[in-house]
Every structure is written in structure tokens, then in C-alpha cells.
Assembly symmetry: C2
Homo-oligomer: 545 residues x 2
């Protein structure tokens, strides 16, 4: 097995990928090397930037240098780089120019000849605005070539990439993923996302990645071709991409563009460097603008690469901390088109929940309804729906609002509830089932509230309307599901935060299931009155007075 998963969170993972030259850690960025024009020498990429791997285009190298790399003893010597080297095949040139002057046999043989650690078959990219019929042709032709490839290859020490095509036609992506997975590739790649990204259709990209991911074996790494901007690394990793290549760090630099993990500036528009990398600490934009163009380009390429590499370290630390969602949600606020991608994730929440760990080293942060797709929330909802039963004696469901402090049962407000239970006495108290309605889980039976992560989270208050609606819906569903247990519901209503939305939903649910219902307003100014009201209502519902 060439790929070993060490840590995981969401669909992201930290892994070890073993190539014939070096074992590299994923998520991994392959800086693109152009042997004819390279702002950062490949040696420096490894020694100063710690790049464990690079990528170059075997088609272009073959056209320009033909047998020279082989005569020099292979690609590693030719490029002066002793880390892992991946090669692309010219498929991107097919996308851009329509065709290439090489056969698959030639380019497979060439990649083996120059000694690529990771190599790519000559697939046919689908592209962006392509009809379903044309997309179908690219998927079929890529699959045909993939099958034919296994008769062409002669070395066993190269990791081969099987690209998945289909573009924005998700049924074709699914089909491509399933068929390509049947072949013994060590790595898969999602083909032709470049135009999708150029059009800021990160929502479509999310659909494509998740559809591909759903079709391929979890234990094979996924490469996202052409995704070289650090603002989208977190999204791509969260959705299960392990490998990236970036020509952007160098191309942007040549064009005077300064990358950050949140977007791009043009150098000529900058007064301040919003970065602490060694380059940005060494001079100001005013000083850099005075320098020769070549010096500016090298500065920007080095800065751009620093940003990319630091962002991948941040992502790895987030995976290790179990906080990849938080990190990604924050990053997606760099652009509305990125945030739109997060909204698509709810359609794949089962996939995320399946692979994400359910216990984590730390609590989580909830901001708004975009977070409802979180594995922790989906997991709890499934648990509550499929496996939870209320305590046996429970007759009255007593719903109380969430408290500022957690766990709920230790919060100061709960003293009042315990006082109420003492007033009515242990026999009646045993018939009362206290549940908290709370962001973001909906309803939390008090006896569960120390189970991770029901108390281990922080939520932004006041909640957004969609989140309140979710809490209301979950609470109402809970009542409907357990209508044989309870004979009635009493709601302690916190109108200020919840705006009667919980109340209305609970009332409707009780009406539907013919349960008695009472609602009492919270009133921190008059705790005694509230207590008396609650006592009376409990007695009324239990018919004990």
C-alpha cells in the first residue's frame, strides 16, 4: 500500500504517500517547475521552503528536451531535485489546444523513461461548458485509455494517476469515478476543475469533488489538478482532496500578483504587506516597487509559495486538532463564491459523517446554519432519531431553554429547576423529563448533556433564523416520535432569543399528537412567580391537584 492515513477530520486527512524516491506527507502541494523559466530554483524549493515534491509537465519536457533528461540519468538529475517528482501528461494541453503531438503510449513510456515518481495517463479532459453528449465522450475515451494503459506500463515502482472526468455533469463524474476505481491506479485525480474555478463556481466544484470522492476508494489519494490558490486549499482538503499542484505561485508572480490565503492583490495596489513571511518582513511595497521587474517577480513567487505552504501547515494542524470545519468555514469567508460551496455540503452530509471522527480532542464552534452539515450535528441527530429512548417513568416533557454555561445541568439556571423538583417531590419529579432546547443540536435530554460534543461547543448568539427553525423542527420531531411516552409537554419559553418559534412548533406537535401543552414565559426578574406557575402547571398536567 503506497498511502497510509495518519489523522483525519471531515473528508480531509494527513497521510503518508510512499513514492520510489521519497515518502511525502499529505495534504501536499506540488509546485510546478518549468525548466525553461523558474523563479525559484528547485534546490531552493526543497532546502528553504521544505517542498517534499514538485510537478512538471512530461509532455513539454519531451517536446523541448526529448532524450536529454534520460541521457543525464533521469528527471531528478535533470531538474537538480532529489524529492518526489510528479509528471503530468499533456492532458491539460489537450484541453487548451484541442490536441497534442504525442500518443498515450509515447508519453507513458517517456514518463517511465525519465523516472517520474508519480505519473499521469493521457486522459481527455471534459472542460467546463460542455454538453452532456460531449462530456460523455471524454469520460468514455478516458476510461478506454485508462484500461489500455495497463498493457503499456513496464515499471512497477511508479505511482500512476487515473483522472476522473465528467465536468459539471455529476452523473458522469459518478460513473467515471466508479469505473476508474475498478482499475488498479494508486492515485486518482479530478480532471478539468480549472475553468470551474476561473468562473468562481466553487459550488459546482464542491459537487464535482464530493461526487468523485463518493465513487473512489477512501484509501486512495485524490489529486485536484490546477488548484493552486491557497484560499481554496481548506475547502478542497475538507472535501477529501489530498494533492494539489500550483503553477499559480509563479504565474501570479510574473503578473505582479500577490497571493494571500484570503485572496489576491496586485502589487501596484498595495501600501502594506499583510503577511509576516521573511520576504514581507524584509521590505515595504514602496521599496519593492522600486526594484527591477525580475527581483519583484522572485519576491512575489517566494512570498506566494510561503503563503501556500503555511496554509497547508495550518490545515494539517486543524486536522490534528479536529478543527478542520472551523478553519474551512473561516477561510470560505474570503469570497461569497467560496461560501456558496459550503452550502452544497449539506447535500453530502452523510458522506462527511461516515468518514469524520465522532470524538475529538476539542469542542467546536457554531456560527450559523451553514454549520448544520457538520458531522457532529448529523451524527447526534441520527443517534437521537434511531437509538434514543426517554427514561421509562417519563410522563411530562419539560422543555427548558439553553443556558450560557455548559454542561447545562451545572448552569446556575438549573438550580431553579432542581428547586422545582424538590417542591413537587421525588415521585412526581421522576415523571418529569427535562430536556434543553439549544443551538445547534435542537433538543438535548438533560441526562445526555455531558456526552461529547453536547456541552463541548460554543455558538454565536443570538442564533440566526435558520438555526432557530432547525431547533424548532428537531424539538417538534422529538415530541412526535416519542408521543407514546409523554402525555404532555411544558415549555419554559425564552421569547427574547427564540421569538416564539420554538413555542409554535412545540404547540403544533402536541396538537398533532393530542398531547397537553403549556407554555410559561421565563422571567428572570420574578423567579418566584415563575416557580409557582411551573409547579401549578406540572400538577395540572399530572392531575395531582
Amino acid at each position: 500500500m503506497s498511502f497510509e492515513i495518519k489523522e483525519k477530520d471531515l473528508l480531509g486527512r494527513i497521510g503518508k504517500l510512499k513514492t520510489k524516491t521519497a515518502t511525502v506527507e499529505t495534504p501536499l502541494l506540488f509546485p510546478v517547475i518549468n525548466p525553461s523559466s523558474q523563479p525559484i530554483p528547485s534546490k531552493r524549493l526543497k532546502e528553504t521552503f521544505g517542498c517534499q515534491a514538485i510537478i512538471t509537465n512530461s509532455y513539454i519536457i519531451k517536446k523541448r528536451f526529448n532524450q536529454i533528461p534520460i541521457e543525464q540519468g533521469g528527471l531528478h538529475k535533470f531538474l537538480g531535485y532529489d524529492g518526489a517528482i510528479m509528471t503530468d501528461s499533456g492532458a491539460y494541453q489537450i484541453l487548451v489546444y484541442g490536441e497534442v503531438e504525442v500518443t498515450q503510449k509515447e508519453i507513458v513510456t517517456y514518463q517511465e523513461g525519465i523516472g517520474s515518481d508519480i505519473a499521469t495517463i493521457l486522459d481527455i479532459p471534459t472542460g467546463w461548458k460542455v454538453t452532456k453528449e460531449d462530456a460523455q465522450i471524454t469520460v468514455a475515451e478516458t476510461l478506454k485509455r485508462a484500461k489500455a494503459f495497463f498493457d503499456l506500463k513496464t515499471r512497477d515502482d511508479t505511482l500512476w494517476v487515473g483522472p476522473i472526468q465528467g465536468g459539471r455533469h455529476l452523473d458522469l463524474v459518478a460513473q467515471s469515478a466508479i469505473e476508474m476505481s475498478k482499475l488498479p491506479f494508486q492515485i486518482h485525480a479530478l480532471g478539468s476543475p480549472t475553468e470551474v474555478m476561473e468562473n468562481y463556481r466553487y459550488d459546482v466544484l464542491a459537487d464535482m469533488i464530493l461526487t468523485a470522492k463518493n465513487g473512489i476508494p477512501h484509501e486512495r489519494p485524490l489529486h485536484l489538478f490546477g488548484a493552486g490558490h491557497p484560499s481554496m486549499f481548506a475547502l478542497a482538503v475538507s472535501l477529501g482532496c489530498d494533492l494539489f499542484d500550483s503553477a499559480a505561485y509563479a504565474l501570479y508572480a510574473r503578473d505582479g500578483r500577490y497571493m494571500t490565503e484570503n485572496g489576491t492583490w496586485r502589487l501596484d495596489q498595495m501600501d502594506y504587506f499583510p503577511c509576516s513571511c521573511p520576504q514581507c518582513c524584509s521590505q515595504t511595497p514602496q521599496e519593492l516597487k522600486q526594484k527591477p521587474a525580475k527581483e519583484q517577480e522572485i519576491f512575489l513567487a517566494e512570498h506566494n509559495l510561503h503563503v501556500c505552504i503555511a496554509e497547508l501547515r495550518r490545515i494539517k494542524q486543524a486536522i490534528r486538532d479536529g478543527r478542520l470545519w472551523e478553519h474551512t468555514e473561516m477561510r470560505l469567508h474570503a469570497h461569497p463564491a467560496l461560501l456558496s460551496a459550503l452550502k452544497r455540503v449539506r447535500n453530502y452530509e452523510d458522506l462527511l459523517e461516515k468518514y469524520s471522527p465522532t470524538a475529538k480532542p476539542s469542542g467546536f464552534f457554531y456560527f450559523n446554519a451553514a454549520g448544520l452539515a457538520r458531522p457532529e450535528i448529523v451524527h447526534y441527530r441520527k443517534h437521537l432519531t434511531q437509538r434514543y429512548t426517554p427514561p421509562t417513568n417519563a410522563k411530562i416533557l419539560f422543555l427548558v431553554p439553553q443556558t450560557r454555561n455548559k454542561p447545562f445541568h451545572k448552569a446556575p439556571e438549573m438550580k431553579k429547576i432542581r428547586q422545582l423538583m424538590r417542591i413537587i417531590g421525588p415521585d412526581l419529579a421522576a415523571q418529569i423529563h427535562v430536556c434543553v432546547y439549544a443551538v445547534p443540536f435542537g433538543i438535548v435530554p438533560l441526562e445526555l448533556d455531558e456526552i461529547y460534543p453536547l456541552s463541548q461547543h460554543e455558538a454565536a448568539m443570538p442564533p440566526d433564523l435558520e438555526t432557530i427553525n432547525y431547533v424548532a423542527e428537531q424539538t417538534a420531531e422529538f415530541i412526535k416520535r416519542n408521543n407514546n411516552t409523554y402525555q404532555g409537554t411544558i415549555l419554559l419559553n425564552d421569547k427574547k432569543i427564540w421569538n416564539n418559534i420554538i413555542k409554535d412548533a412545540v404547540q403544533d406537535a402536541c396538537k398533532t399528537k393530542d398531547l397537553s401543552f403549556d407554555s410559561i414565559e421565563t422571567n428572570p426578574e420574578k423567579p418566584k412567580e415563575t416557580l409557582t406557575q411551573l409547579t401549578n402547571t406540572l400538577h395540572k398536567q399530572l392531575n395531582t391537584k
Copy 2:
């Protein structure tokens, strides 16, 4: 005038503050210097980190060194630092220890004697969990001391800070701000926010800052005492704070804590440095953990300071770009308690709108309803409500959904609308007023859609429910306001995105004002049918068929 505002956005600004030693640029961080234990020498602060100013505590220096700084020729020589030096007065020690062994006269004279560039009166901090009565006393005593101070001071080349107290009692903060503003301080400060921040009550902090800000002259800089964590700089600057001091960079370092602009890690929990600063590029956490404690402390102090300084550069670039809201909204996703602060801002939207520029160098990004407090949106709503009148011939309000491309009138979908106008002919077309319902502005008359920023923004789609409700409300209000102009409304309804919420609101508004109403569903599959339906409905409402 010692403070000159160069650029502004929201309540933040880039300014020049002239002190007797140096002119410094704001927003500015004063690293706290502890002469007895300083992980980064003050000389290095200036030369390597570019710190233009530092702060130290005159009370502690007086206690420990008494006349030595004066004998050595002043504080600048004593500390070996030739930038601007601010001194605190011991007020923080009053908050922590209840009292100090110095009178206001002594500490005012001492600060003048050692030659502070910026100095602080001995105010009485309010603190956090303080009753209104006790808070009132601190406000009154601070004001009394502030008034008395002007008879004590002897030098005219020192900038003096007049702190505003009141704590979480906003009416007291308002009163303190107004009264302190009447005195000729060059700088104000918001007192005692430390405990508010320690309790993660950034929502309360936002209330306090904005209340203070509302009371003091716009042209005086505001210092936020004790706000040294980079995750909150953006929030504080957006709300109008210009000056910060940080002991945290050093205190956190001593405690093994690693700051980022998004939160704090403990070094012992880190596998990766999520940063590109020179320190973090030079070694891994594994390597650092092997080093002696003192070396770790210096590493962390330098890293922490790099992060703080880079964040302030980022904020300045954001102000210059007119993108401080975007930057702040992104940063507030570091913690739910920070995001809660943003939700408070809607209560002060007029204040933000008053001081924020209305024309900007770039468009803006809208993510969800938290953005409805943006000055651009408030400004447009006021304009539409107070100064807009529909075209004179308008009889039918024709509401069409927003298009993906902007400006709306150039979008492909609008071709259909122009075709419709040709079908009904120029006379009838002149009676149709086309308006777009759109996130986040609500309703945009088509003839305005090139005015900034009605087309210069990107919104995350699909919109959140609160935003849809806002669009519905704005559209309904527009109809009710202009009910004398229109005799009817036709809605092209995009149910997929808007879920009939716009339709219901528009229908209600029309009913209330006795206007005719028709709704036609968008149907991209059957454009011809839609066109026929629209033509017929227009004729029907205009009684021309």
C-alpha cells in the same frame, strides 16, 4: 492638531499621530515593555519589527527605579528606544490590587519628568461585575481627577490620555465619554475592557466601544487598553479604536502560548506552525520543543509579535481598499463570541454609516444577514426611502429576480424583458417600471443599477433566510411607499431561490394598498410560454385587452 486622518473605512482609519519624539501611524500597537524582563530588546523591536512606539508602566518604573530614568536623561535613554513612548499610570494596578501607592499629582509629575510622549492620568477603572452604583462612583471620580489634572500638568509637549469608564453600564459609558470629551485631552481610552475580553463578552465590548465612540470627537484617537490579541484587532479597529497595547505577546510566550490572528495554541499541542514568519519558517514545533525554555520563550514572543504586526498591516491595507468589513467579518469567524459582537453592530448602523465612505475603490462581498449593518446597505436604504421617486409614467411595477451577472440590465436574462417591452410596444413599455429584487439591497430600480455599489458586489447564494426576509420587507415597503404611483404589480417569481417569501410579502403589500397583483413563475425550460403569460398579464393590468 496632533492627529490627522489619512484614510477611513467603517469607523476605522489610518492616521498620523504626532508626538514630541516621533510621528507614528495608526492603527498602532504599543508592545508593552517590562524593563526588568524583556524577551525582545526594545532596540530590536524598532529595528527588526519596525515598532514605531512602545508602552511601559510609569507606576512600576517609579516604584522600582524612581529617579534613575530621570538621572539617565529620560525614559528614552533609560529604555534604549528612540521611538514614541507611552506610559500608563498605575490605574490597571488599582483595578487588580484595589489601590496604588501613588497620588495622581505624583504620577503626573513623574511622567512629565521622565519625558513620556503619551501619558495617562490616574483614572479609576470600573471593572466588569460592578453594580451601577459602584460604576457611577468610578465614572465620577475619574472625571474629577481628569478635571483636576489640568492644573497639575506643566509641559505642553506631552499627549495626555483621558480614559472613559462605566464598564458594561452603557449609559454611564455615554455620560463618561461626553464629559471627558469636554476636557482638552488629545487622546481618549476605553477603560477596563480586560475582564470583558477574558469573559469572551465581545458583544458587550462592542457596545462599550461604540457607545464611547459615539460620545467623543471623531478626530481624537481612541486607545483600547489591554487589547493585545490579534484576533480582535480587526473588530476593534472597525469600531473606531486606533491604539492598542500588548503585553500579551510576551506574557503568552512565557506561558508557552502561540498566538495567531484566529486564536491561540499551546506549543506543546502543536505539530505544525500555521504561519510563515521568519521564526516559523526556521524550525518545526518538534525542533523547538527540544530547545531550552528561554529560547522557546523568545521564539514565541517574536512569533507572537510578528503576527500582531502583520495583522495590523492587513487591517491598514483593508482600510485602504475599502474592505475593512470583509476583513473583519472573516476574522470574527475565529470564535462565536467574536461573531456575536458583529450582531450588535446593527444597533449602531447609523453611526457607522455616518463616518464610512460611500464610494469605494472596489465592490463588496455579502455573506449573510450579519452584513445587513454594512454602511453601503444602510446608505442605500435611506436613499431609497427618503429621496427616490419612480419614473413619472410608471403605472405597473414589474418585479424581476436578480441575475447572476451584474449590472442587472446587461445580464442575458434581461434580453427577455427587453423582448417583452418590444412586444407590447413603446407606449405601454413606458408605463412599466422594471425593478430587480436582489440580495442584499432588497429592491433595485433598473435605472439605478449602475450606481455604486448596486452592481459592485458579490453575494453568497442561495441567500440565508434572514436576508430573504429583508429583501421581502424592503420590496413590500417600496410598494407601500409608492402606492400612489403604481396601479399594480407583476412579480416574476423565482420560487427555487426565494421560496415564495417575496411573493407572499408583495401580495400582502398590494392587498394592503389595494393594488392589483399577479405572479408568474420563472421557467427557463419554457421561455416562450413565460413571455406569453407576461404579455397577457401586462395587458390585463393595463386594461388594454
